[in-house]
C-alpha cells in the first residue's frame, strides 16, 4: 500500500508540474505582455511593473522565469486580477468553498439516490420497475444540464415560487464570507438571525444541488445495478443462500460490499463530469464559485484570473481522482494485487 501510495503521489506531482508548465507557457501564448498576463500589473504602472519584472526574473533566461513563476505560485502569489486589481489567490479561496459546497452536496445526493435505486432495480431485474427506473435514468442522463436547469427554474421558481433563482442566500442577510460555503459561513457567523438565514440558504441550495446531482445519480444507478447483478451470480452468494441466510443479510453483508467495488472506482470519473457541469450550473444560478468566476474571466480576458481558475479546477479534479484511487486500493486489496500483478 505504501508503494502504491507513493506511486500515485508521484504521478500527482508530475501532473501538477506539467500543469504549471502549461500555465507558464499560456502567458506567452495569450495576446499582450507576458508579465502583465502573469501578474496582472500593467506596464503603465511603471514602478510596480519594474518591481514585478525583477521579482519574476524577467531580465534572465526563460528557465529562470519559469522557476520564479513556480516559486511565486507555490507561495500563493498568483498575481492580481486585470479588472479588479485584487489578489487572485485571496479571491479564489471563498469561491473554492462555494464550489466545494455545491459539488459535495450534489455528490452526496447522487449517492443517496443513485446507489439505492440501482440496488432496487437489480432486485427487480427485468421487472417493470427495473425497466421504468432504467428508462428514466437513461432519459435523465441524456438531458443537458443547462436545459434541465432552465426547466426546473421555470417550474419551481417562476411557476410554483418555491425557491429563488439565483445566489447563495438573500443578500439582505449580512453574512460575512470566510469559507465561501454558505452553510459553514452561517454557522460560524454571529448573526442574530442565524436560523432564518440557514433556512433561506437551504432554500437557495436545493435546486442547484438537484440539477447537479441528476447526471451522477443516473450513472451511479446504472453502475450499481450492473455490478449487483454480476455479484448476485457469484458462487459465494449461492453458497450463502444454500446456508439459509436471510435475503436482507445476504444483500447487506455479502452482495453490497462487493458490488460497491466498481462503483467506488467510478467515483473519480463522476466527480470530473460533475465539475464540468458545475461551471454551467454556477453561471445559471449566479452561484459565487470557481466556475462562474472562470467563465467571467474568459469573457473579460482577465488572464491571471483565468490561470488561477484553471489551475484550481484541474488540481481539484486531479486530487479527488488520486484520493478516490487511494481509497479504492486501500479498501479493496484485490485491486492492489491486480495493479502489482502479484500472484
Amino acid at each position: 500500500m505504501i508503494r502504491y501510495t507513493l506511486r500515485r503521489l508521484t504521478l500527482l506531482i508530475v501532473t501538477l508540474w506539467l500543469l504549471t508548465v502549461f500555465l507558464f507557457s499560456l502567458n506567452y501564448f495569450f495576446p499582450g505582455d507576458p508579465l502583465t498576463n502573469m501578474t496582472g500589473i500593467r506596464a503603465s504602472n511603471t514602478l510596480s511593473y519594474q518591481l514585478a519584472a525583477e521579482a519574476r526574473g524577467f531580465d534572465a533566461s526563460i528557465i529562470s522565469q519559469y522557476i520564479n513563476f513556480v516559486g511565486h505560485f507555490v507561495r500563493g502569489d498568483w498575481g492580481q486580477s486585470l479588472t479588479t486589481q485584487r489578489d487572485v489567490f485571496t479571491d479564489l479561496i471563498p469561491l473554492l468553498g462555494g464550489t466545494l459546497e455545491l459539488s459535495l452536496l450534489a455528490m452526496i445526493l447522487a449517492m443517496v439516490i443513485g446507489a439505492p435505486l440501482g440496488l432496487y432495480a437489480a432486485g427487480q431485474q427485468r421487472g417493470s420497475m427495473d425497466r421504468l427506473a432504467m428508462g428514466v435514468s437513461l432519459s435523465a442522463y441524456s438531458i443537458p444540464v443547462f436545459w434541465l436547469a432552465q426547466l426546473l427554474i421555470l417550474l419551481f421558481a417562476v411557476k410554483l415560487r418555491w425557491t429563488p433563482i439565483s445566489g447563495q442566500i438573500n443578500p439582505l442577510f449580512d453574512i460575512d464570507v470566510y469559507s465561501g460555503s454558505i452553510i459553514v459561513d452561517i454557522l460560524i457567523s454571529d448573526n442574530p438571525y442565524k436560523q432564518a438565514a440557514l433556512l433561506d440558504a437551504i432554500n437557495h441550495l436545493w435546486l442547484p444541488v438537484i440539477v447537479l446531482a441528476i447526471m451522477p445519480a443516473t450513472m451511479l444507478m446504472r453502475i450499481t445495478r450492473n455490478s449487483m447483478l454480476e455479484v448476485l451470480q457469484q458462487n459465494y452468494i449461492r453458497a450463502a443462500r444454500a446456508r439459509g441466510l436471510t435475503e436482507t443479510r445476504i444483500l447487506l453483508r455479502h452482495v453490497l460490499p462487493n458490488a460497491m467495488q466498481p462503483v467506488v472506482r467510478q467515483l473519480g470519473l463522476m466527480f470530473s463530469i460533475l465539475m464540468s457541469n458545475i461551471i454551467i450550473t454556477e453561471v445559471i444560478f449566479n452561484w459565487p464559485g470557481l466556475g462562474s468566476w472562470l467563465v467571467k474571466s474568459i469573457y473579460e480576458r482577465d488572464y491571471p484570473v483565468m490561470q488561477g481558475g484553471l489551475f484550481a479546477f484541474a488540481a481539484l479534479i486531479l486530487l479527488v481522482n488520486v484520493l478516490v484511487e487511494l481509497f479504492h486500493a486501500w479498501r479493496y486489496p484485490q485491486v492492489r494485487k491486480e495493479l502489482y500483478a502479484e500472484r
Partner: protein, 545 residues
C-alpha cells in the same frame, strides 16, 4: 423492506425542510434589494460618466454642494446652505452647512465634521494637476473636461471653515447646474490625507467615504454591493437600514428575479415582456422622461444638404409619429424641439415640421431637386437609451423618402469605426442622439450645434453659424431665468428655421419595482436614489416607538 421506506422518507423530509423562508425576518423587512445592470467602474463618480457607476454611488454615498429639484425646477441647498454671486458672476461664495458628519467605517473614523477643506480638496483633485490625488486611479475626469468646468474654474479658496469661494474665468450661468450634477460629489479631505500617510491613495475610490445617506460596506464583483444606513445623516436618515445591489446584467434574469421577489427594484426592465406575464398587481412599472433627444442630423457641408430648402423638405417628409410607435413601442414622446420636456426652458410650442409629403415635394422642386436625389443615412449599430433601434428607424425613413422620390441608402459600421468616421464628417446624414448631463439648456445646444463643437466632434450636422453662437453666449451670460427662457426659444426657433437636424423623440427611462416598495426616486438628471425608499409596513412601525 423497512430500509426502502426509510430511504424514501429522506428526500421527503429534506424537501419539507425547504419550505420558502418567511419574509418576516427583520433584515428582510428593513432592507431593499436593487438588481443593478452591471458593476460600477469605481466608487467615485468624478472618474467616469457611466450611468451604472452613478447609480451605485452619487445619491447613496455622497452629497453635492447644491441639488437640483426636478419638481420646482430650481436649485436647492444641500451641503451648501446658501450661495451668492459676486464680482459680476465671476465669483461664487458658498456658505457650508455645519455639523455634517462623514461616514464612519472600519477603514476610517472621521475626527471632524465636513468643512471648507473638503470642498477645496474635492475640486482641486481634478482642477489642479499638481494635486497629490490628481493622477490617482487614472487621472481622467471626463465630465469636468467635457463640460468645460476644468477651464472655467480658476481657483477654489476656503475663506473660513464654512465659506468657500469659487473663482471663474468669466460668468457662466450653467456653473450652478454643473455643480448640481451627480459628478460633483464631495469627498473627505481628512480621509485623503490619512490614505496618503498609509501609502494607499488608490483606496479613496474603492473604499469610499462620503456624507451621503448610506455607508458603503462591501463590494464583491459580479455579486453584490452592500450599504448600511448612515445614522448621523444630516437630513432625515433613510427609512431602510440596509441597501443591497445585486448585480444582474442579464435583462431576462432581472425580470424573473423581480417576479420571484429576489429583487425589489430593477432598472431597464423588459417592458413588453413584463406586460405579457401575468404578475397581477405585484409589480409596478414607472417611467421618467430622460433628458435625451434622438435626432437625424444632416451634414450641411455635403450637397444637397447645404440647401436649407432640402433640409426642410426632408424634415417634412418623414412620419415621426409612426417612427415613435414602431421603434419605441410608444415609450417615447414626440420631440417638439431640441429641448425635452424636463428642461426648464422647454416650451410646449411645437417647433418641428409636421408630416407633410406634399409640402416636401414642393420644397424639393423649389430647390431644384424635383427629380429626387440619392444619399446615405448612417444608422448607429448599437442601442442607446435615446434610440433602441437606429437601423429600423433608418428603414422607416427610407420608405418615407421613397414616397417623395428620394433614394436613401442605409450605412452602418462597427460602433467605434462609426464614431471615428462621423468625426471625419464622411456622412451625408446620421441618426444619433444626445443625453444631457445637467439641467442647463445650454447642454443641448452648445455640444450639438455650436462652431466650437465642430472641433470636439459632437456637431454631427457640421453646422456653424457665428450668429447662432453669439446667441448661445448671450443666453448663457444672462442671469435672469425668464429672459434666458426667451433666449432659448429664439435658439429653438433658429434651429427650426435652418433645420440642421430633425428632432425625433425624447425617450423614457423605465424602472420596475415590487408594489410593496415605495419612494425609490429616479431624477431626470442623474442616478437612482434610495434615500426616501421604504417598504410597506415599515413606516407604521416607526411611528409607534
Amino acid at each position: 423492506m423497512s430500509i426502502w421506506r426509510l430511504w424514501l422518507l429522506t428526500p421527503i423530509l429534506t424537501l419539507a425542510a425547504c419550505t420558502p423562508a418567511s419574509h418576516d425576518v427583520a433584515p428582510l423587512r428593513n432592507g431593499i434589494v436593487y438588481c443593478s445592470e452591471g458593476n460600477p467602474e469605481s466608487f467615485n463618480p468624478q472618474l467616469g460618466t457611466s450611468g451604472t457607476t452613478i447609480d451605485a454611488t452619487s445619491a447613496q454615498i455622497y452629497d453635492r454642494l447644491i441639488d437640483y429639484d426636478d419638481h420646482q425646477q430650481k436649485f436647492v441647498p444641500a451641503l451648501a446652505e446658501s450661495w451668492q454671486t459676486l464680482d459680476n458672476g465671476t465669483r461664487y461664495r458658498f456658505t457650508l452647512r455645519p455639523n455634517v458628519q462623514f461616514h464612519q467605517a472600519p477603514w476610517f473614523t472621521p475626527s471632524r465634521a465636513f468643512n471648507a477643506d473638503d470642498v477645496v480638496f474635492t475640486f482641486k483633485r481634478w482642477l489642479n494637476e499638481d494635486h497629490p490625488y490628481h493622477e490617482v486611479n487614472g487621472g481622467s475626469y471626463p465630465f469636468f473636461t467635457a463640460s468645460g468646468l476644468s477651464r472655467l474654474i480658476t481657483d477654489v479658496v476656503a475663506v473660513n471653515e464654512t465659506t468657500v469661494d469659487f473663482y471663474l474665468k468669466h460668468s457662466n450661468s450653467s456653473f450652478l447646474a454643473n455643480l448640481a450634477t451627480d459628478f460633483a460629489v464631495i469627498l473627505s479631505a481628512e480621509y485623503g490625507a490619512e490614505l496618503l500617510v498609509r501609502g494607499e491613495p488608490a483606496e479613496i475610490d474603492k473604499q469610499p467615504i462620503g456624507t451621503g445617506p448610506f455607508v458603503f460596506e462591501e463590494f464583491r464583483k459580479d455579486l453584490i454591493i452592500r450599504y448600511q444606513r448612515h445614522d448621523d445623516y444630516w437630513r432625515e436618515p433613510a427609512h431602510i437600514e440596509q441597501l443591497v445591489y445585486s448585480i444582474t446584467p442579464n435583462a431576462n434574469k432581472r425580470m424573473l428575479k423581480l417576479i420571484t421577489g429576489e429583487c425589489d427594484v430593477i432598472p431597464y426592465p423588459l417592458v413588453e415582456e413584463l406586460a405579457q406575464l401575468d404578475t397581477g398587481d405585484e409589480i409596478q412599472i414607472s417611467s421618467t422622461v430622460n433628458p435625451n433627444i434622438a435626432f437625424w442630423a444632416f451634414n450641411t457641408e455635403h450637397p444637397p444638404f447645404d440647401d436649407v430648402l432640402v433640409r426642410r423638405a426632408m424634415a417634412s417628409a418623414i412620419n415621426r409619429k409612426a417612427i415613435i410607435q414602431t421603434i419605441y413601442n410608444g415609450n417615447a414622446k414626440l420631440a417638439t424641439g431640441v429641448l425635452p420636456e424636463t428642461s426648464w426652458a422647454y416650451s410646449p410650442v411645437d417647433q418641428t415640421y409636421g408630416y407633410n409629403p406634399e409640402r416636401a415635394r414642393e420644397l424639393l422642386i423649389e430647390a431644384g431637386y424635383g427629380d429626387g436625389f440619392e444619399f446615405d443615412i448612417w444608422a448607429m449599430p448599437v442601442q442607446r437609451a435615446y434610440n433602441p433601434n437606429a437601423q429600423k428607424m433608418a428603414e422607416l425613413i427610407q420608405s418615407d423618402l421613397a414616397q417623395i422620390g428620394v433614394t436613401a441608402n442605409i450605412v452602418s459600421y462597427e460602433w467605434n469605426a462609426f464614431r471615428r468616421r462621423l468625426a471625419r464628417d464622411e456622412h451625408d446624414s446620421v441618426l444619433i442622439g444626445w443625453i444631457a448631463d445637467n439641467a442647463d439648456p445650454d447642454n443641448f445646444f452648445r455640444p450639438l450645434l455650436s462652431c466650437n463643437a465642430l472641433n470636439v466632434g459632437t456637431n454631427r450636422a457640421n453646422w456653424c453659424e457665428p450668429g447662432f453662437d453669439d446667441l448661445l453666449v448671450q443666453a448663457i451670460s444672462e442671469e435672469n431665468t425668464d429672459s434666458r427662457k426667451k433666449l432659448y426659444q429664439e435658439v429653438e426657433n433658429w434651429v427650426y428655421r435652418e433645420a440642421p437636424l430633425v428632432p425625433i423623440a425624447n425617450s423614457m427611462r423605465f424602472q420596475a419595482h415590487r408594489s410593496d416598495v415605495h419612494g425609490v426616486e429616479v431624477p431626470a438628471y442623474g442616478g437612482v436614489s434610495f434615500r426616501n425608499a421604504y417598504r410597506d409596513g415599515k413606516r407604521e412601525q416607526e411611528a409607534q416607538p
